[in-house]
Symmetry: D2
Subunit: 347 residues, 4 copies
């Protein structure tokens, strides 16, 4: 950490900064320059709270040299984390994992039909919302526990692992009981009580990037989960907010590359929420695999026009079949394949 | 609501849209145009879920004519909502309410000294965090319940009302017991479980705009609170995320004006978080009063350099005194004053 | 176009809007609704200036049903535009065109070595800046006309077509004399005098999206060029400005898909400027091909560490060779190949 | 400047960075830290081009301690620049200058009526576009030279100074001949040929911030003008692009404060373009004065509903009269007044 002093800061002010640094238990190293002095903080263990220093007299700004996250960083653990799911699929390993299913669980028929079809096409994880956080209180909010039971039934029938969202700390245990992966949605990326709860639940977590969260904030959110003792975290890019409306969100695929450089955790891309339009999902799913994502999560619905939510961005079952062939071929170019699971009846 | 068809949409597709609208219980009114057809949805009561329509064949996009929020809108209630606090101060009325105090409650001495001084200078509400949501798990997270007790003690000593944040649904009851206003922070603006909990707590709510929330989303978040039966909501602009780093956030004062046009609820501006730098707080507090905010919330600390959090944006007690004179004069230009409370020992 | 009236607008105000529409030469169609009235404007030929209507009494807002651009739209010309360069390469056709070269032309040796190597690896267009618009007046601004001559010499030596930037209207003729494609840079996307000048120059144009331009604004900028009589325009996504700094810009690959849906013009992606970091260029170049871009433009330098500008995002010659194999394979998955030119000595 | 090395960078890589710094004529100061080494660059005169360093092996990133602009900075010239216009009005001095007039000059009657009325209400500068850069080529583009002559006639009749926009380098001389202040619009903030041309024209310049330009980029654009020998530059905040559409742009009033801290140049705020809606212009004009802007530029039109452009954001003449009283009172709170000019017939 580097504390940059204002032009014309007095020796007393520089000494005051050095004293504050030493009070915090670190070493201070003043560096006089041609135009201004800077004071280095040596020994930063990633826990320094800059606000103590920013407010001191004569200070212009504080520059971080070391990142504030620790356990999620690649420097902490140089080797890629691989998460093995109960059905034997490995996320973050050699092969690309496909997660697919409807936005929301709507009925037994809907979820079972979708599960069988996506399994046959090569998916290994079934997605589907039982609890839906919605911007408007008047929108459909999910089937709740009944939805969780239907997902578990679909798992039994197909061998797919199940990922579904928990929306409040008190609901984590129930979700964790039925799901193989607990999802934390974009709106809840900085819901710290929820992060701690999923950190303690002992199940793999799919953490979605907030709508305007930086990659650094996403990694710090993962750090909240990890320090509870749960290292099984997948980091999901799902589009950020933008000034343009040509698509619902702006899918930041470069973040997949950045996360992989900064962290050892597996990456997931969500082109369905990331684009918000069926016609754009296929191209961006292909792009996500080409960019190196470890997993792709896709909305698929047997009858998108009748979907209770997000119908406009759901692929049809036939579109999903066709897309899987392309994703398989592109992953092959990168020396990967589409992950298969022994327990799943693939087509 | 207007469903715009693609150029070249077939009569069958137009009829399909009309049928879907009627299935949902509304009337459809097709409007053939020079280049394309649009289908109007008549009878929208604010509860139409557009996703049913967006996915239909031949549909280009859906345009909202009516806003999706209802009870928070000015059309629902043309008259301004005025919220009366236990100490007699009215938020949203003729006068401008000043809320002031430290970012976090740190000690008995700190909160009492601050409370006496801001009361003397004309504040009527004391702010101070007992539970602090922080981006990094390694940052100071607040004193918890002990902080709430210290705030209550400061209220007894000064007559100030107390505003403090609740960070999870299970914690709302405890906060509501000690506070006069329950704050929902920016990171939790779309934490729906928390919104519902504060909606049921029966205390006035200060709802902060999310870091990249639109005004429409802020109003929908307020709608979540209001439909639980709690209409006492203040909407707070506290800066949004931007591409520039000349200030910590981008304080969107125009939102204060927009909210007032769209909603009957009182508006609050937070120039401390909105700018993140002490030297910018005063000018932007003046600007917020000039723009018409009903209340201003300010971070003030007896010794900002020693603050446990956000020291760089806290005013000193002397700076606060000086600023209050300016805010009083500017509110006078708008035919308002600074709200006083009989129970508070103002200077 | 739909003019939405305020709740409670008077019949006189509605009539005033209808009158204004008819004054402008269109037909007005009032549509009374449950909560508010809207007035449709029928006969919109894409030239309606909404500002006449927005300011009328009782008007809430104006909604565009038809897009404001015309000749660049896919509705104007449903078939893809294909631009044939002098060396026989076709941009926008079946195959993916690779444009490569240094950020700036620095010396005869540098540009010739780069040209021979990228040609051997399969590129068909040589990029290189002779005039460099730079944020700081103290940064290197390019070799100017000497740079153009070196590019022309490299074309003679290799058969590559040349793309280079024009930065002011008076300079377009000189650039057009030496280049096969005239580039308009991101900072100049709304420099209308420059757009008109390149529109009249008769050479193909590579138009870069502005740093925070919407896709709609990009299409309108292309419309400025096209109405001068020049339909040979390639639209280039090169990253937009974002709140995050994990990469220099936010490469919006979905825009490639959106542009293709809205317009008949070829699309180009620039992962070098789009990411700003060498380690991210390869993954995002692969992603761009996978998303369907018609051409990729890449910065390549024989010695990036010594580059006069943008060294951090330039690929080495060896990295470029390796990347070309991947891009070829991915284009194959989409039923495309990498475009070759008879005149170029490919490896 | 600080070059931060990657964790695990070799001594050779550190030495390579030091060598590069010394090759550039500066001194290198390696600083080994607990987790990584950084290399300080000492002697930076504001002209260091970081791209040489970013690409070196082992380099993680380059951190700027000194800003890249020089002559526009407050460190270069601690005293405020005051620009005196021909009619005796001083911009950047004690009093707040009001610039007012229509978006575009439309007719002799329109500009003369407006000029007389805004002068009577206390304005000292007349605004009005003769050349209008418009997003769509089909929108009204201004009266051109005829508009300039009408502005000059209005100046003769009222004593107001005139500000109007130049849109291309070749047009600067003509604009400078008729205007007292040459405006560079937001779209052209990085049109360097234009900046150099206005730098050489010898007239005061009103430079508008680009739609998503950082304050630093605005200052660097001003540096382009200043190094041509023209220090008479006013920096105008006019709203930046945002993810929200509750207003046309997001008026960043904090930028007015930031610019004043970083630079000695006068600041201007444009609440008309900054909000895009008549009902929001008054509140934000008051806020801009309260925040400390040296000048306010406002769109005023005798008949906004008939305006050729931007009618929705133009004040009526009566609204302008009323607003001036408020602005006068608020400037008084800050110890300022509204600037008057001896030559102007104020009311």
């Amino acid at each position: 950490m580097l504390v940059v002093m204002r032009h014309g800061a007095t020796p007393d002010q520089v000494a005051g900064v050095a004293r504050a640094i030493e009070d915090m238990g670190y070493r201070a190293r003043p560096m006089p320059g041609a135009q201004r002095t800077a004071v280095g903080l040596v020994g930063n263990d990633g826990r320094v709270d800059e606000s103590r220093l920013v407010g001191l007299e004569g200070v212009l700004r504080v520059i971080h040299v070391t990142q504030p996250y620790k356990q999620v960083s690649r420097e902490w653990s140089p080797e890629d984390t691989v998460i093995e799911l109960p059905n034997g699929v490995r996320v973050g390993g050699e092969d690309v994992v496909i997660m697919a299913g409807p936005c929301a669980v709507e009925s037994r028929e809907q979820i079972l039909e979708t599960a069988h079809r996506v399994a046959a096409a090569g998916a290994t994880v079934l997605r589907g919302g039982a609890f839906k956080p919605r911007t408007s209180p008047y929108s459909f909010q999910g089937l709740g526990e009944e939805g969780l039971r239907l997902l578990a039934e679909a798992r039994e029938a197909t061998g797919l692992a199940v990922v579904t969202e928990a929306v409040e700390p008190d609901g984590v245990a129930m979700v964790a009981e039925h799901a193989d992966i607990v999802q934390v949605g974009a709106r809840n990326m900085q819901n710290y009580a929820l992060l701690r709860a999923v950190g303690r639940a002992g199940k793999p977590v799919l953490l979605k990037r907030g709508l305007s969260a930086t990659v650094k904030e996403l990694l710090l959110a993962a750090e909240y989960i990890m320090i509870e003792g749960n290292p099984q975290i997948m980091l999901c890019e799902r589009g950020v907010r933008s000034f343009d409306t040509h698509a619902r969100n702006l899918l930041d695929l470069t973040a997949v590359v950045s996360i992989k450089e900064l962290s050892h955790l597996p990456t997931v891309a969500d082109p369905s929420h990331g684009t918000g339009a069926r016609s754009k999902v296929g191209p961006m799913a292909r792009a996500a695999v080409a960019a190196g994502a470890d997993a792709i999560i896709l909305e698929v619905h047997p009858d998108p026009a009748a979907a209770a939510s997000d119908g406009q961005q759901s692929l049809t079952l036939d579109q999903f079949d066709a897309l899987m062939l392309e994703l398989d071929a592109i992953s092959g170019v990168l020396g990967r394949g589409i992950a298969r699971a022994p327990a799943v009846v693939h087509g």
